[in-house]
């Protein structure tokens, strides 16, 4: 218990330090840092369903997009202030997941992944043809003018908002990792039939996990819509967003608390910096890094950390770098 308390304290202190540090950053690194924080949240969102429950969703961007569009529609069409639209959008994304979840979560493995991909594509098409969402022309979040609007708060405020959300996501996953609910999800991932025989209401539990993950992704989407001011189906339902979530978690460590954070910092920094300095090479360098990362660390970077993932109870033992390398050499005959 005491250890948990110290962890929460350290987390809060780090958040405050990062919040203060952001104010000192020039605009370009601030932009990168903001993007990293967005992906910490998105990666943790994917981690809940793909990492803990073992259901690799390839449609997670749908919840991000639904959250963003809900915020845009509520502010532009209904006259909500953005700060009132934010929780409503988060709740709507979660409700959307609770509706699409039951049929999707009847599927397992690759069938589930493909179905979620289709769900995201379908959602995007629906948004592109509806009148209320502005169709392909997009929709503008009102930030000035005589009508109801929310003043654009500026880059530093968005950095703080994404930081707060990332801290909440981390707290949610840290709680999950030590909770009954998290244990049920890990049992489902290990063996769903046996989990059902142990009394876990599997469908309900999986849908709850998807809704929780959508709540985080939807909140991030709403913030993103406000930050972008104008939202389009292409920007809110970009498949690359899902791909990055998956890659970050897989490289960072599935079903761990710290892995997605490490993955997001490494990957988003690389993506942003590579794009700035070597925009022609990044389509080559990134996939190469992903392959190397997955081959050498199939369980993710988090398994090299001093504190083994899985919140102590039931965690897998820590991997030693040398052993990991030797294992990779043996398996892939390098």
């Amino acid at each position: 218990m005491e250890k948990t308390g110290r962890r929460w304290l350290a987390g809060s202190a780090a958040t405050i330090a990062l919040a203060a540090g952001g104010a000192a950053l020039p605009s370009q690194p601030l932009g990168t840092a903001t993007s990293v924080l967005l992906f910490v949240t998105l990666a943790q969102s994917w981690n809940i369903i793909g990492g803990f429950a073992g259901y690799p969703s390839f449609g997670q961007v749908a919840f991000f997009g639904v959250g963003g569009y809900c915020a845009a529609v509520l502010t532009a069409q209904v006259g909500f202030s953005f700060w009132a639209a934010l929780p409503a959008s988060a709740a709507f994304a979660a409700a959307f997941a609770a509706v699409v979840g039951p049929p999707l979560l009847r599927l397992r493995g690759n069938a589930f992944s493909i179905a979620t991909l289709g769900m995201a594509a379908g959602t995007r098409e629906l948004v592109a043809i509806l009148g209320v969402t502005g169709g392909g022309a997009g929709l503008t979040v009102p930030t000035f003018g005589p009508g109801p609007h929310t003043a654009y708060p500026g880059a530093l405020a968005f950095y703080w908002a994404y930081l707060a959300l990332a801290a909440v996501s981390l707290a949610v996953v840290a709680w999950l990792s030590a909770s009954r609910f998290g244990l049920a999800l890990r049992a489902i991932r290990a063996d769903e039939t046996a989990a059902e025989s142990a009394g876990v209401a599997t469908t309900r539990t999986k849908v709850a996990a998807l809704a929780l993950s959508a709540l985080l992704a939807g909140t991030a989407g709403a913030l993103f819509a406000f930050q972008q001011v104008v939202v389009f189906p292409d920007s809110m339902f970009d498949i690359t967003t899902t791909t990055l979530m998956v890659v970050i978690v897989v490289v960072g460590g599935r079903g761990t608390v710290a892995g997605p954070v490490v993955g997001a910092v490494v990957f988003e920094t690389l993506v942003t910096e590579l794009h700035l300095f070597a925009s022609r090479l990044d389509p080559l360098i990134l996939p190469a890094l992903i392959v190397v990362g997955v081959v050498l660390l199939p369980d993710g970077v988090a398994h090299l950390l001093p504190v083994p993932p899985g919140a102590g109870r039931g965690g897998t033992p820590r991997a030693r770098p040398r052993a990991v390398l030797l294992d990779a050499v043996r398996r892939y005959r390098l």
């Binding site: 009954r180 244990l183 890990r186 142990a198």
Partner: protein
């Protein structure tokens, strides 16, 4: 005294194949019913039908007088029907302790702390206490079977459905297993024992049902059923099943 588990005209078809055909039995508190028969006779299908992993084509399942036909496994286990799997299914990357704690939390309804206390006590009982902190994937065959049993017991069962729990064990381990099951029967738990080991069947069962091609061929006290000529023939040709290795 009323039966804790009643099964009536249980039937299950797979396409054109009738895997289980009109099986009827009832099980009272503190009694053991053996279910024997050659491979493919439908024993595991009966297990899946009474534990909710399969829905019957026809027939009824009642637990404590309540109709639970077609209910999903998690509802049945909460109603008091726990099972073990013929091919063990541990949650490999969870610790042995957490494997058992999941059942105590979700099937028996214990809060997290009490569930782990219960799990620890059950690991003592089945002789796995020293492995509590290890990942369950590291257990050998015999210990995996003990874990299956501990997980089933953690659900706080009224009925235990054991699908070849003694399969693949050495003679000494079987003797320990039989003692453990006898103790559970003394505690009042009803057991449906699907087993190939005839020594265990004879030592534990009050009654035995012999299945062949999904149908009950004969039933009665173990001594009677096991010496029935049809049973002997179905199992071993001319040899007596009691002499099976």
């Amino acid at each position: 005294m009323t039966a804790v588990l009643e099964v009536e005209s249980l039937t299950r078809n797979f396409g054109g194949l009738r895997a289980v055909d009109e099986v009827t039995f009832s099980l009272r508190r503190g009694t053991v019913l053996g279910l024997i028969g050659p491979n493919g006779a439908g024993k595991s299908t009966v297990v899946n039908l009474v534990t909710g992993h399969l829905a019957p084509t026809r027939g009824r399942v009642r637990v404590g007088g309540r109709d639970v036909t077609g209910a999903p496994p998690w509802k049945l286990v909460r109603a008091g029907v726990a099972r073990t799997f013929q091919v063990v299914r541990p949650f490999e990357d969870l610790t042995v302790l957490d494997n058992v704690a999941v059942s105590a939390m979700y099937a028996a309804g214990f809060p997290a702390r009490a569930a782990r206390t219960t799990a620890r006590r059950l690991l003592e009982q089945v002789g796995l206490a020293t492995r509590a902190g290890d990942p369950a994937g590291q257990l050998g065959v015999a210990d995996s079977r003990r874990l299956e049993l501990a997980r089933a017991l953690a659900t706080h069962p009224r009925v235990l459905v054991l699908d070849e729990i003694l399969g693949g064990l050495a003679q000494r381990e079987i003797a320990a297993g039989v003692d453990l099951l006898a103790a559970l029967r003394e505690q009042g738990i009803a057991i449906l024992l699907v087993e190939h080991h005839m020594g265990a069947v004879r030592a534990l069962c009050d009654r035995v049902i012999m299945l062949e091609r999904g149908r009950p061929l004969t039933s009665g006290p173990p001594a009677e059923v096991l010496s029935d000529r049809r049973v002997v023939r179905a199992y071993l040709g001319a040899r007596h099943p009691g002499t099976a290795p």
